[in-house]
Subunit: 446 residues, 2 copies
């Protein structure tokens, strides 16, 4: 049996490792267009900040280590076409030679590409996106002589980069059409994050539409906006990603949510023998049952394992996501899971949210810091729909996992309000903020 | 309607506040034998350590504040007898006067008393237990001139006191018949906690039975053990507590687990009109369905609310506990929920445990520290039975709440292994230790 995997990062590598474990005799080959496989892309901002010493620290396994585990990794190999009926792909190596490679199972794990707005001209230096280590190295080099950097976008990557760039001593201006973290959180929570950015010296411009790039002598000098020009020595675009689904399309696979590859719960595409996993794929949001495109690291790894197991003849199902995300924004921990109030309303649910401003542990114990919890539930059923946490002690935002787990189970606010959670003064209040919020929500959705 | 509450700390005060909220016209009176009500007893070690500046910082509400909320608090009032059939209690005030007080509902929230072993003689100074603020003040005063203190017992209070006394610069010797945290954790986890204590300069003597107190001129000079004498300027006994169920017995109420007051899920005792809540009560361990005595702060508050609601004519049920506990032992966070492997075996369950030694967040991100997770599940069903966490970054032990929540829901290891938990490098690994442990457990219990 021959299993080909296109893409050697999160989903692709998880799939390959699962496949060789389940089918030790299978021929498992990973084609990676770039030079590096098996690295933690979520760590890129932390190399730029200096928290992580070297790009290589992000690498989990080298090709040699993967070979020892039975995975044949071919870097610098671009898979350009698929003939699913014939069961082969076309691969172009770095030296330009093209070969056909047969497969029994093909996994498309081509990831996501940064969205580059139309206003970005070709051939201007000093404009960056960040999705892989070469991108990171380019930003690192490009910022050496910069004093002021503009970040366009205020999502996960934009916020992490704002912190990284301030840690490098740069002036940072963040330009965003909507709110800070506006696609992650409801409005009141966004305001807390924006206040922290401003406290940390970031020049935040929300509600500002970027309309063009200013440049001179082939180098970016800033961005034009509907509120005037913003000068910067470098411009980083972080306005989201789109699925790299072109190869899947060439294979004839159906696309789904946001143009991502449509898959079933086995990670099968609509084409026999062709599978997909990771940031090129849609998935199911368990809270609504709808299909969504939410490319994140753990999700990609989870999907990859499912695809790898199934391609190798095993039996695994992907249960979907609940929409969990977390980020550190300077000293704040920011987390969400499930649906925001706005998302719940968009989904046609009769939703109600409550907010609790508490402390992460007993107020009398040292270093008790503010934590705001928003819990969202469904009126009538009392079902939990989602949670948002903004915490001054960043690690205390990891409480989000309690709600993520309960969303998987379909639990209610009532049930949470009555739970035997851990209490000691250095860890929580007698009534942890989650319990207080759940009690308030249980009343509100009755 | 007249509601009398005996005991004005966690359960009693929660009940009284709930009662006045549900029945604003009711006459709600709290009798407290001591002088202080409504304080966080779990904070006592942190005043002794100096982390909390003053005993008063532990007080949540003063009697005047409670009066404003409609609760009539009478400190210095000892309820000495109950005539349930006649519907009155006998109360002795601090000045020695005795009155009869009629009730429609009586809540017994008399708490727990420290266990004092037989080898402690009467009338010797320098021997302490810690259950309330006067105890704490006595220890504080007694340690002013001490250089070396012996702690007998290595449970929650003993461990918290070891840290507190080291913070005061005292030499600490801890003497324990079993292991360190031996009733909280399985053996391998106990060893981690003991190693931390020793690293912090505590002289730990495990497997040592205390047989007597040494004293001179009416002052303790140490303890006698089956492994020789241990010299100390003060001796703190922290070998657990027993329910104060004497008053409930006088009311004719049936006792249950460990001599605690037997109650149903409404917090009713076996005697009509007489209720009980808090550390004097037994409860249901949801994982086994059995009745247990596990006196802890949140549990007492939860029970109190249920009793208060029901006494006031509302409708609340106490869903029981899952056995969650957490403590800080120097820099370690130590947490548990559900059953240990040993407890599961004692309960006749076919249990299997797995251990994962991981890091609390991405290894390449600064300050990633060791965390050990033990997950216990039931063979065949795959049901989660319990978890134990020992974490070097203490706050990361709060992950225990994810398992506590899943135990409430009766979830499986398989389900947890597949969950969409939060991931970003400052918070967790791509696969959080909980997910890794759950995956390993799911395999092991199949």
């Amino acid at each position: 049996m021959r299993i080909l995997v296109v893409g050697g990062v999160a989903a692709g590598m998880s799939a390959a490792l699962r496949a060789v474990r389940h089918a030790p005799d299978a021929d498992v080959v990973v084609f990676e267009r770039g030079d590096i496989v098996s690295y933690g892309a979520c760590g890129l901002p932390y190399v730029l900040s200096g928290d992580v010493g070297d790009w290589d620290d992000l690498i989990a396994r080298t090709p040699a280590e993967l070979a020892a585990e039975g995975v044949d990794v071919r870097t610098g190999h671009d898979v350009t076409d698929v003939d699913a009926a014939a069961g082969h792909v076309t691969v172009r190596a770095a030296d330009g030679t093209t070969t056909r490679e047969p497969f029994d199972h093909l996994l498309i794990a081509t990831g996501a590409a940064p969205v580059v707005p139309d206003w970005v001209p070709q051939g201007v230096a000093g404009v960056y996106t960040l999705t892989d280590i070469p991108d990171g190295r380019a930003i690192d080099a490009g910022l050496r002589d910069a004093r002021r950097v503009a970040i366009v976008g205020a999502g996960y990557v934009g916020l992490e980069l704002a912190e990284a760039f301030r840690a490098r001593g740069l002036d940072v201006v963040m330009v965003q059409a909507g709110r800070v973290a506006g696609r992650i959180l409801d409005h009141a929570q966004c305001d807390l994050v924006q206040a922290e950015l401003e406290r940390q010296g970031v020049d935040v411009r929300t509600g500002v539409e970027v309309t063009g790039l200013t440049h001179r002598d082939g180098r970016a000098t800033g961005v034009q906006t509907d509120a005037g020009d913003v000068r910067a020595d470098a411009v980083v675009i972080a306005v989201g990603v789109r699925p790299r689904s072109e190869l899947a399309q060439r294979a004839g696979a159906t696309l789904g949510a946001a143009g991502a590859v449509a898959v079933d719960d086995r990670q099968r595409t609509s084409v026999g023998g062709v599978w997909a996993a990771g940031d090129c794929c849609e998935t199911v949001q368990r809270v609504t049952g709808g299909r969504v495109y939410v490319p994140l690291g753990l999700t990609a790894n989870r999907m990859g394992r499912v695809a790898g197991t199934n391609m190798a003849g095993g039996d695994a199902a992907f249960p979907g996501i609940v929409g969990t995300g977390i980020l550190k924004a300077f000293s704040l921990g920011v987390a969400r899971t499930g649906l925001t109030q706005a998302q719940a309303e968009d989904a046609g649910l009769d939703a109600k949210s409550v907010d609790i401003d508490g402390r992460d542990h007993a107020g009398y114990y040292p270093d008790a810091r503010p934590i705001r919890v928003r819990l969202t539930g469904e009126r009538g059923s009392g079902r939990l729909l989602g949670a948002q946490i903004v915490a001054r002690n960043h690690s205390s935002a990891l409480r989000i996992d309690v709600i993520a787990a309960l969303l998987h189970d379909g639990s209610s606010a009532d049930a949470l309000a009555d739970m035997d959670l851990a209490y000691a003064p250095p860890f929580s209040g007698v009534w942890d903020v989650l319990l207080i919020a759940a009690g308030k929500l249980a009343q509100a959705v009755r």
